[in-house]
């Protein structure tokens, strides 16, 4: 049964359809793998009983010819999605014991499609981080290790638990959320596919909010096809989210034609700063040749405001977060630390409940919005954000997609960057601009560093053109023939 976990999502779907194995068998194999890899700390909450129960239903539905698109497919759910009756923590102490009486729109859609949830995956606290070290439940371990180096590496963040679980074959796919790179960056570090759709493609209803104008859910899988399948089940208009687009959802899997002939691919000069890691630069060059070989036209482009994207992001996201996180006050849910007065209770609860990175960002955000500083920080950042968006709009006049590296480096050891917030923030330098502009983007595992660590390439397109993202990503994936994490059997 072990080799059931070697299947990808599309392969498992086929096996289930053919009756090669049951959903219960498939689920049990993954539950076993999940149990065998607790060392990775990928799950905050495991729900094996619920999963088996659901798998039985899935088998029944299939017998009744009532199988949904994901009927019987075991997934991991980032613990930022509220799941009815199942502990939801956002990896924060402040949400201790919080069991939502409601189900997020995205997870409800996945359930409706027949998916099975194995549990809630670990993340950076409130999705704030790029290394998964800020989780109240401890860091996630990247299942990859550098050649000849025993040090445990970070999986990236914030969807590090999802990325690591998918990489280690603990689930066939997982949900992630991306605010400044939180799907694409850990996907790159863990050698999996991570896709952030256009802002508004997936409903944010029921996802613990970090930065409302940036947060976007997306799929994390081992193949581009799997990501397309999963996104089809997650996406769609939701009247409960005012920022959810009232647009029809195309068949993303059908977009994987393998044909990029005549597509114009932009290569932005600004993503090649002085001192760019040479392995990354080399891999990027390979990506360019693969697409050129496949018949695409390569166009040099310029995105002049790129260098301001990170500082812009580190005003916009903390400002929104400082307000979004005000509801964690010890009154209606989660942790409460008693105090002498209401304000004392608030301050003690929030001091005990939030970790250092969350506090830093809440304080920065509070400051950026405060009287006398709003114009210099928040308003300024919104204006620069507009310029960054306009850079992309102009670029897409002359290109259909943009190819960049996903991250400036491969995964690094736990603890290496935790003393210096700004150097940690630089991990998101290539992913943040597209987040600010609300564009869809994907990270495809495209090769290994000299140390044998995964490296990803990122494909971006204009809004609502996920089909081109998948099409280009499919071609890169095929050319790269990325080996994936060697399966170590029983763990």
């Amino acid at each position: 049964m072990t080799d059931l976990i070697s299947l990808d999502l599309a392969g498992a779907r086929e096996g289930l359809n053919n009756g090669d194995f049951s959903a219960v068998e498939l689920t049990q194999a993954h539950i076993k793998a999940m149990g065998a890899h607790r060392d990775l700390n990928t799950f905050i909450t495991e729900t094996p009983d619920l999963a088996i129960e659901r798998a039985k239903e899935a088998d029944h539905n299939r017998q009744q010819d009532q199988a949904g698109d994901l009927e019987g497919i075991p997934l991991g759910i980032k613990d930022l999605f509220c799941t009815e009756g199942v502990l939801t923590t956002a990896a924060s102490h402040i949400l201790d014991g919080f069991t939502p009486p409601y189900e997020s729109t995205v997870t409800a859609k996945l359930k409706e499609a027949g998916a099975i949830f194995l549990g809630k995956t670990n993340l950076d606290e409130f999705a704030m981080g790029s290394s998964n070290e800020s989780s109240h439940y401890g860091p996630v371990h990247n299942p990859w290790k550098a050649n000849g180096d025993p040090r445990v590496l970070v999986p990236g963040g914030s969807s590090g638990g999802s990325a690591a679980a998918v990489a280690a074959h603990l689930c066939l796919g997982a949900t992630g959320t991306d605010t400044g790179g939180s799907i694409r960056q850990p996907a790159s570090f863990c050698g999996v596919v991570g896709m952030k759709p256009t802002y508004g493609r997936c409903s944010r209803w029921g996802i613990v909010a970090f930065s409302s104008s940036l947060d976007q859910a997306g799929p994390m899988t081992r193949t581009v096809r799997d990501a397309a399948i999963l996104l089809n089940a997650m996406a769609g208009h939701d009247p409960k989210d005012s920022t959810s687009a009232d647009a029809s959802v195309p068949d993303f899997e059908a977009a994987l034609t393998g044909d990029v002939k005549g597509l114009r691919i932009g290569i932005p000069a600004e993503y090649r700063p002085d001192g760019l890691n040479s392995e990354i630069a080399t891999l990027w060059g390979k990506g360019v040749s693969w697409l050129k070989d496949a018949g695409a036209e390569i166009v040099e482009i310029t995105l002049p405001h790129t260098k301001y994207a990170l500082p812009t992001y580190y005003i916009v996201a903390p400002a929104e977060a400082s307000s979004n996180l005000a509801r964690y006050d010890g009154v209606r849910f989660g942790l409460r630390v008693e105090g002498e007065s209401l304000d004392d209770m608030y301050s003690k609860t929030r001091a005990a409940g939030f970790g250092d990175e969350v506090k830093r960002r809440v304080l920065i955000g509070t400051y950026a919005l405060s009287a006398g500083y709003y114009d210099a920080y928040y308003l300024k950042a919104q204006k620069v954000r507009q310029l960054i968006y306009q850079d992309f709009i102009s670029a897409f006049d002359s290109v259909d997609a943009i190819l960049t590296p996903t991250t400036p480096s491969p995964a690094f050891p736990i603890g290496e960057k935790s003393d210096d917030p700004v150097s940690m923030y630089l991990n998101d330098v290539f992913t943040v601009p597209a987040s600010l502009a609300g564009l869809p983007g994907i990270s495809v595992p495209a090769g290994l560093s000299g140390d044998g660590l995964p490296l990803g390439l990122q494909v971006l397109t204009k809004r609502w053109d996920e089909e081109t993202v998948f099409r280009v990503a499919g071609v890169l994936e095929e050319a790269a023939a990325f080996p994936g994490l060697p399966l170590t059997g029983e763990g």
Binding site: A209, S242, A326, R327, R332, L369, A371
Partner: protein, 485 residues
């Protein structure tokens, strides 16, 4: 109407601006589908959105948008086709999200005007600064537990229109007139029920004083959440006097939020608002700008009723009423409709007088509204007809009216039943005159000797003889004739 506080150092005038929170009449809340019903069991009118649960998002209610525009049109205000919702961030136990969704830089309604109808019949214009939509907070209950405050979120998220005046008022009377007029307008528009007792209209008053003749704006204090017109007027008066006292004692007024204590008739600083506030407003990223076109506004405009100011003008023009009478009659549209029902085909001034002096008095005494009036418009009309066709006298009519108020009966029936029909035959009246003259020969002598004023006394006596039923005009004529003989 001037309100001048005479201090030891000179005369002071008061500068008043009002912020009124008017609850929109909608079935569900501004951003959630939970009900707005008043008085329900705690936390039963609450959605996960209202409770600020993680991941919950706001979706705007169309009726709230429509009613804000409607109210703006009623205030002759500029309607902004694009407005923005902003978060006002502060921590409080009955504010679950940690912010109130409100409007800051771009409200849905801009500047307008409101005309005050003062008791002396004069009018004054007060500028409206803006009207914006925002969420109500929940309710903190402090008296159910010795050391706990209880929180009920039922009101949380109910749509409010915050209507902000310019600091254009100068007396408690003007503030009272402003509130009454605003209430009248929103009731005409049916966008808010204007019920201050249930808190669907609440008032914050900004008060400052300055020496008469000065045009400086001194530090103002905000008196929060006063819940009746009378209390607003009292609170302003007390607060203004407090400012004068402080200034005259050489002190300074600190800008602060205060509460009006009705039992002690004084204002005091609000402890929970002691915190220096920094609301950190920013556009709510969960909501996009609120946009609509001119056609939408025009469609709403086309459904507006005739509003009190226009109605007052018309009443003055069509019915030749005084500004005061017209103003009083149009405060409630039900009263205005009642008046017009009765006035149709009758002497409007007589009708206005009956409605204002008699009907209002009777309703007031019984604590009834015009819709519950025991005297229907039809019956009041009949009563007035009985006077004009001389079936009864004005004096008898007042008696009949009292019976109508108590028993709700038709005036014709009352007149018949009680035999109150006026005597218009000369015979019985002449008999009564003769009798009076025979009983008081001295008075007759005096009258005939030139004391004309005694005619009133004679009329009274004759009326008394006839049980008040004699036609007073006839009594007068016949008396003069007989006395002259």
């Amino acid at each position: 109407m001037s309100f001048i506080i005479k201090g030891e150092t000179g005369d002071w005038e008061t500068v008043i601006g009002l912020e009124v929170h008017a609850q929109v009449v909608s079935k569900s809340k501004l951003f959630s589908a939970a009900p707005t019903t008043f008085g329900a069991e705690p936390n039963t009118q609450v959605s996960f959105v209202d409770a600020g649960m993680p991941g919950m998002l706001p979706v705007i209610n169309d009726v709230c948008v429509e009613y804000a525009v409607r109210t703006g049109l009623g205030l002759k205000a500029r309607i902004n086709n694009r407005s923005v919702f902003a978060r006002k961030n502060y921590f409080y136990a009955d504010l679950p999200q940690g912010y109130q969704i409100s409007q800051f830089e771009l409200p849905i309604v801009g500047e307008g005007t409101l005309i005050l109808d003062m008791p002396d019949g004069e009018s004054r214009e007060v500028g409206i600064e803006r009207l914006h939509l925002e969420q109500d907070a929940g309710k903190s209950i402090h008296d159910l537990h010795p050391d706990k405050t209880f929180i009920d979120l039922n009101r949380c998220g109910v749509a409010l229109m915050e209507i902000v005046s310019k600091p254009d008022m100068r007396s408690p009377d003007e503030a009272g007139a402003y509130l009454r007029k605003l209430r009248s307008i929103v009731r005409y528009l049916e966008t808010c029920d204007g019920n201050m007792d249930e808190g669907s209209m609440r008032c914050d008053a900004n008060v400052s004083v300055r020496p008469v003749g000065s045009d400086e704006l001194r530090t103002r204090c905000e008196i929060k959440n006063v819940n009746s017109v009378r209390f607003v007027m009292q609170a302003i008066e007390h607060e203004a006097r407090r400012h004068v006292d402080v200034y005259e004692a050489g002190g300074d007024i600190a800008q602060e939020t205060r509460l009006y204590d009705t039992s002690k008739s004084e204002t005091r600083p609000m402890r929970s608002k002691e915190f220096a506030h920094d609301y950190r407003y920013f556009p709510d990223p969960d909501l996009l700008p609120l946009e609509f076109d001119d056609a939408y506004v025009e469609e709403i405009r086309s459904t507006l009723p005739e509003l009190p100011d226009d109605k007052k003008e018309r009443f003055m023009a069509d019915y030749s009423l005084s500004a005061y009478d017209a103003g009083v009659l149009v405060v409630e549209k039900e009263t205005a409709a009642y008046f017009e029902d009765v006035a149709s085909g009758r002497d409007a001034k007589v009708v206005a007088n009956w409605v204002i002096s008699n009907l209002f008095g009777a309703l007031n005494k019984k604590g009834l509204s015009i819709s519950d009036s025991p005297v229907s418009a039809l019956n009041l009309g009949k009563l007035i007809d009985l006077i004009s066709d001389e079936t009864i006298s004005g004096r008898i009519a007042k008696e009949v009216f009292e019976v109508m108020v108590d028993e709700g009966k038709d005036p014709d029936a009352i007149v018949e039943e009680k035999g109150l029909r006026q005597i218009t035959d000369t015979g019985p009246i002449e008999d009564a005159i003769v009798k009076v003259m025979e009983e008081s020969p001295g008075k007759v002598e005096e009258y005939r000797g030139g004391k004309d004023k005694l005619i009133g006394w004679f009329v009274g006596q004759v009326m008394k003889q006839t049980g008040g039923k004699a036609n007073p005009g006839m009594v007068n004529d016949l008396l003069r004739k007989k006395l002259a003989e």
